[in-house]
């Protein structure tokens, strides 16, 4: 017993120098969606770091309720990182803490099952196919609305405000409802592009902004590897993205080509392992990372374009994930350095303006794009480049939507609470559509909107650009 504890403690203890960077100033507290709602410091980044430190010091068991509950309740949105003056690498520490916690106590069956499916090709492919078939029947949208749901969070105190999750039966029903709604929300937003909203038909076409302004230094790109040639871009096709959002992958390739990139396909790639890493299944994540390192180095691309920010953040951290790996460690670092979100690649090129898209949209920043990768301005610049598109600000756009991988399934009440705040915020903008940059966010917010009775679609950034280009005849002939 104590032997196991020692082993666990040692795993985090190796990271002690990183934990010690935390001076307990508390600047992270207001950035944390769970602390803001629950008000318990154990549900804040500083509190969670303190619990990790207590495990290292041998004052706390990693299998204790406190450690399991509060480390488990973290969304992993990493909004605490950009506000940390000491530069604590919270995301990495969380993954380690989850690994240690998972070894001390098994994670729930559902979570293990989902990770197993995503981590295994011959399970993931049929699962995605089944998802597509089911989606095509229209049943998920209907069933999600028909299933009885939990009381929607309001101002009144309800049990969810204490952070407690429901029992297994209610949890299973909630997971089924949310899962179906998410599947329905992954469908293309055909109506948005085919029906022109009457209220905005007379909107003026706005001028295209000039290149090279408004971009932060961190978001500016270097020259392509091959000198003055068109930069080569490889695309991570992903697991969910390939399975349920192939249209986004296709649109990404088209809009990158239209902006002068040479897009190449990479065979032998697979799931990036982000879900596994976030859940603390670091060994499984490393297996997937190694496979991608090998697959992508053959492509010799200047950049690896990402249209799922969760995957982008994970791949950008392959270097540290595989730091101990003597055979692929250095190559992993090299690959990680070339990983870029599609919005950055587009913003660097202007991007090229297409035909007017007379819509009012609002943008929600995916956590793993804004907080984990520090990409703040590029998506806005891309949206502003689309003629006729009115972009209205979304209050609380920097806060997590509650999707957070499989959080909605493991923490339905708290995830639902965070999600419903996002939904309310979106509805208040009066936008025709919500734009974001990550499949998890598309499905989470889309499901939330649908369950709230709204028909506002959620689309990926490149889908809008793609539609604008299609209307401009860029792809004709």
């Amino acid at each position: 017993m104590s032997g196991r504890r020692d082993t666990l403690a040692r795993a985090i203890a190796e990271q002690e120098e990183r934990l010690l960077n935390c001076v307990h100033c508390g600047f992270c507290l207001p950035a944390c969606p769970t602390y803001r709602r629950l008000g318990d410091e154990a549900d804040s980044p500083r509190g969670r770091l303190y619990l990790m430190q207590a495990v290292v010091e041998g004052r706390l068991d990693a299998g204790s309720d406190a450690f399991q509950t509060h480390i488990g309740r973290c969304l992993g949105c990493r909004a605490c990182e950009p506000v940390c003056p000491s530069g604590v690498e919270y995301g990495n520490l969380l993954e380690l803490a989850r690994q240690v916690g998972g070894e001390a106590r098994r994670s729930p069956l559902l979570a293990r099952l989902i990770l197993r499916v995503f981590g295994t090709d011959w399970l993931a492919r049929p699962a995605m196919l089944a998802g597509r078939l089911l989606r095509a029947t229209g049943f998920p949208a209907f069933a999600a609305r028909a299933l009885p749901g939990e009381h929607r969070p309001g101002r009144q105190r309800a049990s969810h405000e204490d952070g407690n999750e429901p029992g297994p039966v209610a949890r299973a029903a909630g997971a089924a409802r949310l899962g179906l709604a998410m599947l329905a929300a992954s469908a293309p937003a055909r109506e948005l592009f085919h029906k022109r909203p009457a209220s905005h038909s007379a909107r003026e076409v706005r001028p295209v902004p000039a290149r090279g302004n408004g971009q932060t230094r961190r978001e500016r790109l270097g020259p392509p590897r091959g000198g003055g040639q068109a930069p080569t871009v490889a695309l991570l096709t992903g697991c969910v993205q390939a399975g349920l959002f192939s249209r986004v992958n296709e649109a990404t390739a088209r809009v990158l080509s239209a902006n002068g990139y040479r897009v190449v396909t990479v065979a032998g790639q697979g799931c990036c392992g982000a879900l596994h890493a976030h859940a603390g299944a670091l060994e499984a994540a490393r297996v997937m990372a190694r496979r991608n390192v090998r697959a992508f180095e053959g492509a010799e691309a200047d950049f690896v374009a990402m249209n799922a920010s969760g995957c982008g953040a994970a791949m950008a951290e392959y270097g540290s994930l595989l730091a101990e790996d003597r055979t692929v460690g250095e190559r992993a670092r090299d690959l990680a350095g070339r990983v870029l979100d599609v919005s950055r690649l587009l913003a660097d090129r202007g991007p090229v303006a297409g035909a007017p898209l007379p819509l009012r949209v609002t943008y929600d920043a995916p956590c793993h794009l804004l907080h984990a990768q520090g990409v703040a301005d590029s998506p806005t610049r891309v949206l502003e480049s689309v003629p006729g598109l009115e972009v209205v600000p979304l209050p609380g756009a920097a806060e997590c939507c509650g999707g957070a991988g499989i959080y909605g399934l493991t923490h339905p009440r708290l995830g639902g609470w965070i999600g419903s705040d996002k939904v309310r915020s979106v509805l208040d903008t009066g936008a025709d559509a919500l734009v974001t940059g990550n499949p998890g966010c598309v499905m989470q917010i889309g499901a939330g909107l649908a369950l709230a009775g709204s028909r506002i679609p959620v689309v990926h950034l490149v889908e809008l650009v793609d539609e604008s280009y299609r209307r401009a005849g860029f792809y004709a002939g």
């Binding site: 307990h24 100033c25 207001p30 008000g39 500083r46 619990l51 004052r59 309720d65 003056p85």
Partner: protein, 494 residues
Amino acid sequence: MIPDTLTRSLAEICGPGGVIVDEDRLLVYESDALTAYRHRPGAVVLPRTTAEVQGAVTAIARHGLPIVPRGAGTGLSGGAVALDGAVVVGTARMNRILEIDAANRRAVLQPGVINAELSAAARPHGLYYAPDPSSQTACTIGGNVAENSGGPHCLKYGVTSRYVTGLTVVLPDGSVAKLGGRGREAPGYDLVGLFVGSEGCFGIATEIEVGLLPLPEGVRTLLGIFDRIEDAGRAVSDIVSAGLLPAAMEIIDGPTIRAVEDSVFAAGYPTDAEAALVIEFDGLEAGLDGETARAAEFCRRAGAREVRRARDEAERMALWKGRKKAFGAMGRIAPDLLVQDATVPRTTLPAILKGISEIGKRYDLVVANVFHAGDGNLHPNILFDRRDEDELERVERASKEIMQLCVDSGGTITGEHGVGLDKKHHMPLIYGAAELDAMWGVRRVFDPSGVMNPGKVLPEETAPGWPGHGEGRGAAEGEGAGVAEPAVAAMAPP
């Protein structure tokens, strides 16, 4: 551990999730932002309303347990640390702004509202809340009231007490009192004034009325770069002597500059400089440029190698972020730090800065200074690693010497962080028996049974009725002699 009956009554009042009694979960409440002091509370309760605070305080008091109010736990004097198994009453869930009355430039809010968020909410009305502690993005107004917090711009605008116009407070016996309110002029004794800065010893503020200011028309921000910190200190002194009134004057020393520039809040301070002096003027546009030019000239005359002006709002924000996040950035140098808060007469700044640097050298410690120079409010940060016991002891000795140096130069032991647990034993350095007895007397009026935040602010041995009371008090010898001791002696700690 608290009795089960108390846990049950607290759960009835604040909901089951509003009470924390699990020993492991309580670990995170062991300390505030001054981690040198760690004491696990007996329980934590998280109420949402005045009525819930009232119910909780009554229940805890009925069990004879001490009570410690806590905001965001960003304090730097150990004020929110629970001694002797005290029950923490946290205000994190009391985070609503109840009213912004723009016409009267007034807001009413719950104590858990974050300082910067009050200003953000007031901004659309062209208003803001002036006191701006460096932790303003995280600290709560309730905590500001308890500590009478200051901040860089308090040089011109004054500290928290100037802005709090009314308070609803739950007193330690569970009664609710409304102090002041609806404006400034409440007849009778100024109880709001007494309550602000009482460091959680008088009660818990559950509704706070504050005054707001109109946003200034113009702002100019200067950055002076110095090769010697004493020169920066001299520039500050000269600017004030010349009759200029900047909104803020802040000094960031070499080690701090390097920590900040290494962080995400890099402000563009040159890393080879030994001091950066940030000076800000605000107010009506007319006259700002003239004042700024004069201040720049004083910097150059004092030996600045360069004086820059922030060209736009982005540059200004960067300069300020570097200053305001400096404390947190110290984690890049060492895992632990002890920040002091002494305030000295401005004219003594150059000599004291030199003295602090010498003390640091003598004890082989890194001392990083970042402080409100305009107010003479120093913040020497002594950096250390608590795992090194020898170093820990040197920190303690150096800390005491720095404090003594400041007091000897006519200064005081705290400018804005509060006395709390950390500096209560230094109180006799600046107060004699008469003053301390008066303070005990006031405290007893609010808290006759001694349950609110015991063990803070006033050293027990100075309590009337404490064995040996009145003996061996340092600074004001003679003053204590002959003062009649109050008859009641309820404040003695358990």
